[in-house]
């Protein structure tokens, strides 16, 4: 009887093993990649920026228009507000004193030329219109 039970148990064990679906317990392989970054090395040239004036009283403010639509209208309104709020401020409008700069510069060389032209008026502060 005991031998018969042992035989039966063994048969059941074999049967169960055959019935259980084959399951892989191995882990998915980890891939290791060495990737080269695509960005360029950027050489930043340090630029000395002038200190902001602590007050605009008695100072010269140049309003620079880039010739885009309503740039002059917007800056004229800025001029009105400055003259109302700030004592003895002197306003220079670039499109009046240097009409050749009343356009987009289009390239760095022209930008520099325009900047030098406007700097010749010796402003303490420049407020410019940009982009569109």
């Amino acid at each position: 009887m005991k031998r018969g039970l042992r035989k039966a148990a063994a048969a059941w064990a074999v049967l169960m093993v055959l019935m259980v679906p084959a399951v892989s317990f191995s882990r998915e392989a980890i891939q290791e990649w060495q990737l080269v970054h695509p960005e360029g090395v950027i050489k930043i040239e340090p630029m000395k920026i002038n200190a902001h004036p602590s007050t605009l009283v008695g100072k010269t403010v140049l309003l620079r228009s880039n010739g885009k639509h309503n740039a002059d209208n917007y800056l004229t309104r800025v001029a009105e507000l400055l003259q109302k709020e700030v004592k003895d401020v002197k306003i220079i409008k670039s499109w009046e004193v240097a009409p050749e700069t009343n356009t987009i510069s289009q390239n760095p060389d022209k930008s520099k030329q325009f900047a030098q032209r406007l700097a010749s008026f010796k402003p303490d502060l420049v407020i410019g219109s940009q982009c569109d």
Partner: protein, 375 residues
């Protein structure tokens, strides 16, 4: 995340699905164009560098707007990402050199609110050698060389030059050509001199030209005779938005080119016709350009015009480039070039000393793949 990433040369990625992980990471960092990229492993970059005999650390150009150094190695990394083959490197290096030229004005092209993007034009025997498509669908999809060389240049301008949409690239609409914009001239079907010969190169030279292309205008040439076609082209030009364009590119369909040649039109004849007919009455010109202050490049004689019926050329062009491209048919295209990119810049492609063995290797690889695909 544009600009916010570890400044490493090489980064180790460990993942059970590295392809997906790399693509997600690179996308978040702003290094892709939105499409999946080929991960630039060290091995792949090494293989890409076989396409040139220039030293990897050589700086080909310094690219605006962020003044990133486009070294041969960094160009190769972006070429891998775009899906280029090594033999495409010489064309790509020439294109990078061109966009780095100050006269190309990449600073403007890459940051403007205008919808423009570099368009690469390729001439010479290299077109066939690289299987660049000059025929049907040359501006479209399907050819690895056209697609990946164009794509690589835009990835380079982004990743090396630092032109990130919405951060430094402020183009209101953008341009679909920023995914790929590389065309080969169909020199076989060109009844006149091909572009590079017109620009002063010998016919057998390989030449790359890059232009800052704006939106495309389709010209339905079907059914028109030569004068009708040129009149249509002139009317399209006269409707353009700027009073002055240094360059406009006209892609002439091959069958239209044959008709024009047969009817006695040379390239100069076409230009003369267009100059005489692409005009609007001064009353319209004044409203469109003078009253809105879009008068850059406009000569004084126009600004001083008084006769409202006088016909004024639109746009005033320094150059009308005429290129024959595409497949069978009569569908042409006008490509205005951005007004602030003033010169046509071309470079002869510098081939590496191992060029022939590079091409042989490419041919062998293609033969193997062809056999596999048939089995």
């Amino acid at each position: 995340m544009a600009g916010q990433f570890p400044r490493l040369r090489v980064e180790k990625i460990e993942s059970t699905d590295s392809f997906t992980t790399v693509n997600h990471l690179f996308y978040l960092r702003g290094w892709t164009d939105g499409l999946p990229i080929v991960p630039p492993t060290e091995e792949r970059v090494k293989v890409m560098l076989e396409g040139t005999d220039l030293p990897p650390e050589e700086v080909i150009a310094t690219l605006d707007p962020m003044k990133g150094e486009a070294t041969v190695a960094k160009i190769a990394v972006n070429a891998v990402m775009a899906g280029c083959r090594p033999e495409y490197m010489p064309v790509l290096l020439s294109a990078v050199e061109i966009v780095g030229d100050p006269d190309f004005n990449l600073l403007g092209v890459a940051t403007t609110t205008n919808p423009d993007t570099p368009l690469i034009l390729v001439n010479g025997p290299i077109v066939k050698e690289l299987q660049l498509n000059a025929g049907t669908n040359t501006m479209g999809r399907g050819w690895q060389a056209n697609a990946t060389i164009g794509r690589a240049l835009h990835l380079i301008i982004q990743n090396i030059g630092g032109s990130w949409p919405g951060v430094t690239d402020m183009s209101t609409l953008g341009h679909p050509g920023e995914f790929a914009n590389c065309v080969a001239e169909n020199e076989e079907k060109n009844p006149w001199e091909p572009l590079h010969v017109e620009l002063g190169y010998a016919r057998e030279k390989n030449v790359v030209t890059v232009l800052a292309a704006e939106g495309l205008q389709s010209i339905l040439g079907s059914g028109w005779d030569s004068e009708g076609y040129l009149s249509l082209v002139s009317d399209h030009l006269a409707a353009l938005d700027r009073s002055y364009r240094p360059v406009v590119l006209l892609f002439v369909a091959q069958d239209t080119a044959a008709m024009l040649k047969r009817d006695g039109f040379s390239k100069e004849g076409i230009r003369k016709y267009v100059e005489e007919h692409a005009r609007v009455p001064f009353s319209k010109y004044r409203k469109r350009f003078i009253e809105t202050r879009k008068t850059q490049g406009v000569p004084d004689w126009i600004l001083n015009m008084r006769d409202p019926n006088a016909m004024i050329p639109v746009p005033i062009m320094d150059r009308l480039l005429i290129v024959v491209a595409g497949g069978v048919g009569e569908k042409s295209m006008i490509v205005p070039v951005w007004a602030a990119s003033r010169k046509v810049i071309s470079k002869e492609v510098r081939l590496p000393s191992n060029w022939n063995s590079l091409l042989d290797k490419a041919r062998q690889s293609e033969e193997v793949m062809s056999r596999l695909s048939r089995s």
